[in-house]
């Protein structure tokens, strides 16, 4: 095992998540893509800590930040979906395009 192997797995997870975030029309499925991308970031941070600077806790702190971002993203995402659905019965990204205006 090496840093490169872990980073390749992390990159694969990130890119699969990116595909989901770019293609999915359902807002909840889009959020699943974002979760997968953050999973890749967590793995890359863990590998960087272990293979580059294990003596300091900076890599671990980055993982804590990414895990918090995952929790916040999910909570706010579901709240936004709930608010959108209540006001206009929208649960698809294409139907919420008027938010840009």
């Amino acid at each position: 095992m090496s840093l490169e192997l872990f980073l390749i797995v992390a990159a694969a997870l990130f890119c699969v998540g990116l595909f989901g975030a770019l293609t999915q029309q359902s807002i909840v499925m889009l959020m699943m893509g974002l979760e997968l991308m953050l999973g890749g970031v967590i793995l890359a941070a863990g590998a960087a800590w272990h293979y580059i600077a294990p003596a300091t806790a900076d890599g671990q702190v980055l993982i804590v930040v990414a895990i918090t971002a995952m929790a916040v993203e999910m909570a706010i995402g579901f709240a936004v979906v709930t608010a959108l659905f209540r006001s206009r019965e929208i649960d698809m990204t294409d139907m919420a395009a008027e938010l840009r205006e």
């Binding site: 840093l3 694969a12 998540g17 029309q25 590998a47 294990p54 671990q60 659905f85």
Partner: protein, 186 residues
């Protein structure tokens, strides 16, 4: 043993990640994502980060359970009984993702990664705790405020009654029209 665990978890994580966007059933997609994220937690444990690995596993299990409920609430085909696609610009997105992966791969393989400095501490969890309560205290406080703001924002967004319901269409009412009285001075 560790190498075998790495490969099994890595293959399972990527395969489950791909299956998230291939399943018709929303429940299956959620549990596929859970499998991918549990494998990420397992990889952290392989790296020696036991505490963060277990936190990831526990958090993702609960998070995906909640997500499954939301999926079934909002999706029209939660059980996957009828085939359907809910995607747009699949080819463009696939090209962007393939290009991103190739770029990342080139960067990973060609970058001059620094040599390992220092050794892992005997107890990485204590190291993390001392860091968060010491030099990284500002990070911890920022995360705390972000979580608190999230609690307030989710309650505000999820509640059905807005300020127009409470204060009238032109916000002209001196007192809010709440179904239950309460608060300071009321």
């Amino acid at each position: 043993m560790t190498t075998s665990a790495f490969w099994v978890l890595a293959v399972l994580a990527v395969a489950s990640g791909v299956m998230v966007f291939r399943f018709d059933s929303m429940a299956r997609a959620t549990f596929s994502l859970l499998t991918a994220l549990l494998c990420v937690g397992g990889e952290l444990i392989v790296l020696g980060l036991d505490y963060l690995g277990i936190v990831t596993v526990l958090m993702m299990t609960i998070e995906m359970a909640i997500m499954a409920v939301f999926m079934i609430m909002f999706m029209m085909n939660p059980a996957g009984l009828t085939p359907m696609t809910m995607v747009h610009n699949k080819r463009g997105a696939a090209a962007v993702c393939a290009l991103s992966f190739v770029l990342l791969l080139v960067g990973i393989l060609l970058a001059p990664w620094p040599r390992r400095s220092g050794r892992p501490p005997v107890d990485p969890t204590m190291d993390l705790g001392l860091s968060l309560m010491g030099p990284q205290m500002l990070t911890m406080m920022t995360l705390g405020m972000a979580l608190f703001a999230t609690i307030v924002a989710t309650v505000v967004l999820s509640t059905q009654r807005g300020r127009y319901d409470r204060y009238g269409d032109r916000l002209q009412d001196p007192r809010p029209d709440d179904p239950v009285r309460g608060g300071v001075g009321r």
